[in-house]
Amino acid sequence: MVDLQSLRIVLPEVQLAIVGFVALIAAAAGGTRVTRAVGLLAIGGFALAGGTLFCPERLKFLLNGALPVFGFGTQFIDDSFARFVKALILAASALSVMLSWSYFEKNGEERPEYPVLILFATLGMMLMVSASDLLSLYVGLELQSLSLYVLAAFRRDDARSSEAGLKYFVLGALSSGLLLYGISLIYGYTGKTDFLSLASALRNHGLMEPGVVVGMAFICAALAFKVSGVPFHMWTPDVYEGAPTPVTAFFAAAPKMAALAMFTRFLLLPMNGLSAQWHQIIVFVSIASMLWGAFAGLVQGNMKRLLAYSSIANVGYLLVAVAVGGQPGVQAMLIYLSIYVLNTLGAFAVVLCLRRNGKAVDAIADLSGLSKTNPAVALAMTILMFSLAGVPPLAGFFGKYFVFLSAVDAGMVPLAIVGVLSSVVTAYYYLRIIKVMYFDEPKGALDPMPDWGVKSVLGLASLAMVVLTFVPSPLVDAALRAARGFIG
């Protein structure tokens, strides 16, 4: 029997899956000739799913009544928090497809599988965000991960790209193993997998079996791997450096958000009763990520590696908000996430502008003198870097403001102090990029600007960093609504 009520909730995912299969068939039939058409189809699919996401009366012609929150029993949850994060993921995926518009073509490697893989990875992420059962969580995560492994190795003739894919696969499989082991422990000790009954079991019956705590710790380790929190971050710099740049941009944006949202839900809903236990883990991972991301980034010479460490530090800040928990923490996390995702996609767009004699270059030194050879890109990058450093008046400051405000409000002043001090350290490497662009002499002309996709992502991101300063309120209020609706 078709569960129509549940179908109503998963309609965006269904649409995305259909678009994905259509794209797959088109790709199989058309080959490389249809790469661009498939790309456009994917962007259209993201837009369609995004529109449906916020349509309050999905499939009203079939069924009346309010949209239910849970679907397929308790496997799938559709609250305002999930919708907010899904909208960000869809936007990030669409922008990532735009970033890749002519990247592979320039290497003679254009293949229509690329947008198809992004489509399926995004579908996996949407399932992750909405998962309210350990099983649906695992299924979503694996659909995402398998697509990402292939994407990392997408330039299959390139040794570094293949290496990145392999590394990511081996370590990712390990973390999946940890996750499954944790799930099995929790199931073994409680007999439950769905979040709601786990929550009430852990809250009401004081079910503090050590096995549950161990299972929770295993799942935390696996999820820390997915969000690249220290000490499970080791794959990040290598995979970021080796993967093709548009793929790296995608990695830094969408999967990170999905894993973080899932992490938040897992800790605040089923594991709420164990908050005394997981709080220590999260605080440790957060501090370690902030500090390691800051200090290890200082010595990097490659843009993509640098941005990898930057993303590790940023995960540290985001985990501060997770450790705060509750409505203020979730709201701060959503604000930070929205700003960060645009900021980082913009930074990768700049890396995509770096081509010399037809070859992509990605050393920091390759940016030298960019303010003379390409003032517009240099200006945009300056805005993005100051914003990542959290220097006001740019939007990145507001992200940090709300995260650390919520931490101080929750009485976690030391965590906030470590956070702001580590942001001073990270400022050093962002400043270095600006120094290279503005203070150093040009090393030789870069190739002309790439296509409209990169340009529009760069323009959109840098403009948003300025505009959000003047009108932060819509974002703050949207995050507030999403946090209020968070079921946890």
Partner: protein, 499 residues
């Protein structure tokens, strides 16, 4: 006219000018016409801002000690963060010094800055927006936004147009001040949570429990002590000053250092009175060390800009000394030293810039005997040098006298140490003057230097008038801020004694 948001207009007019230059002036290194256009737009924008600020001064009512010309708009209502602007007797002069110095700097840059003219003009105008915005902000988030935002244009000004070690200087400047400020940010969080709002006017007058206030005070101190700068947090300043281009040094000494002093009054005295009283011995000790120690260091300098930079640290010592003596004269003197130092230090850096543009060296020993071939320059330099020393009749005298008097009233030993600093100040400045202007004119390149040209005279003339006016009739300037400061002091005293 009363509804016109004059403070916002003042804040964003320079930004508008910067945007116009950014969008409508064509790029091109060495493109003379587009460089000229950029210079003219920047100059006229800053002059229009100055005119607007004069209008603001006319609308300002000195007898009213509260905040005036208030503007309040919704910004982030869910966190009780609003866009609030307003001025009182304290901040009104800081706005004025920002708007007076910017056109002078742009005028100096028209001759002094040869590369990337367009970008330089944009940076100067953005800087002006940040400065004016900071002094008129009455919401903590807004305040912090502008306070920190200053770093962005200043980092670029030092790094792009600076001297040999500009990269090091720019990093040091940025990271030092950023480090101090992030601690202030944590304090702002704590205050915002305690009060439920970030409205600065709601926080005046000791509303925080003593232990919390002590921590808050230390966090703000970290930021303002670096910015002012106080010994031993001053080490970024000599580098930043020496490597920055002339216009950058002028703004740095003239306005940015005052942000620290302004912060001490606005937040230290008005918001955390008990903690200020508690920590006053620390501040006074550091101020006295700064006055004597940096004067001695200045004596040993061979680089003109470094010498003036160290003298700035010493002068800011008088400011903190005056504020933390908690006397009427001390407050008055601190305020006057800040205003006077703005114009005198700005003028001295411009003076260095004049010869630096000609010979491209700041080594004192490379010059000598300039009194005979550059008489006008020698006269201008002498007046500002004497103002820096504190000669009666110049602005420097009034401020240092009042500040010393305040220190004397608090404790006569303070005044004794501070007076030693004044003697040393006279020594290093007079010695500098002797080495630059007297003695035989032996070096050919020095002999060949032309005297001040019309643009340079236009640049110095307003400063000269202001410095002498401040010395001869200080009340023109004092009557604007004196009532507000008096009220701040009496509020402070009643809190300290009552609490």
């Amino acid at each position: 006219m009363t509804d016109f948001p004059i403070l916002s207009a003042l804040t964003f007019l320079p930004l508008l000018g910067a945007l116009i230059i950014l969008l409508f002036v064509r790029d091109g290194e060495g493109n003379k016409t587009s460089e000229k256009v950029a210079q003219q737009i920047a100059l006229w924008t800053s002059l229009a801002t100055l005119a607007l600020s004069v209008q603001m001064l006319r609308q300002f009512d000195p007898s009213n000690t509260g905040f005036q010309l208030m503007e309040r708009f919704v910004w982030i209502p869910s966190f009780n963060i609003a866009y609030i602007k307003g001025i009182d007797g304290i901040s009104v002069w800081f706005v004025m010094i920002s708007t007076i110095l910017t056109p002078i700097c742009i005028l100096s840059a028209i001759g002094g800055v040869k590369k990337r003219v367009k970008e330089f003009m944009i940076a100067m105008l953005v800087l002006e927006t940040m400065m004016v915005g900071m002094f008129t902000a009455l919401d903590f988030v807004l305040f912090y936004l502008f306070f920190e935002g200053v770093l962005i244009p200043m980092y670029l000004i030092i790094g792009v147009w600076g001297g040999e070690k500009r990269t090091y200087a720019a990093y040091k400047f940025f990271l030092y001040t950023f480090l101090g400020s992030v601690l202030m940010l944590v304090a702002i969080f704590a205050m915002a949570i305690h009060m439920g709002t970030t409205d600065m006017t709601a926080m005046m007058g000791g509303k925080f429990p003593p232990q919390m206030a002590a921590w808050l005070w230390l966090a703000f101190f970290a930021s303002f002590a670096v910015k002012t700068p106080m010994w031993p947090f001053h080490t970024w300043l000599p580098y930043a000053h020496v490597e920055a281009p002339t216009a950058g040094s002028v703004i740095l000494a003239g306005v940015l250092l005052k942000m620290g002093g302004y912060g001490f009054i606005r937040i230290g005295i008005q918001m955390l009175p008990e903690a200020s009283k508690h920590f006053a011995p620390l501040v006074i000790a550091l101020s006295l060390i700064a006055i004597v120690y940096t004067s001695l260091v200045a004596l040993a300098q061979t680089d003109m800009k470094k010498l003036i930079a160290y003298s700035s640290v010493a002068h800011m010592g008088y400011v903190t000394l005056g504020i933390f003596s908690f006397t009427e004269q001390g407050f008055d003197g601190a305020m006057f030293v800040m205003l006077s130092h703005t114009f005198v230090a700005a003028a001295l850096f411009l003076c260095v810039g004049v010869v630096y543009d000609r010979l491209h060296t700041r080594e004192i020993s490379r010059y000598g005997g300039m009194a005979s071939n550059m008489p006008r320059y020698a006269l201008v330099f002498m007046i500002f040098m004497l103002a820096s020393v504190g000669l009666p009749g110049t602005s420097g005298f009034v401020g240092e006298f009042l500040s010393m008097q305040g220190a004397f009233l608090a404790n006569s030993w303070y005044a004794l140490v501070a007076a030693t600093g004044m003697v040393l100040g006279a020594a290093y400045m007079l010695w500098l003057y002797r080495r630059l202007f007297y003695g035989p004119l032996v070096k050919d390149d020095v002999r060949a230097m032309p005297d001040l040209n019309a643009r340079e005279i236009a640049m110095f003339a307003p400063l000269l008038i202001i410095v002498l006016w401040m010395g001869i009739h200080p009340d023109t300037f004092r009557h604007v801020y004196a009532p507000t400061l008096e009220k701040a002091l009496s509020a402070f005293q009643s809190h300290v004694q009552g609490g």
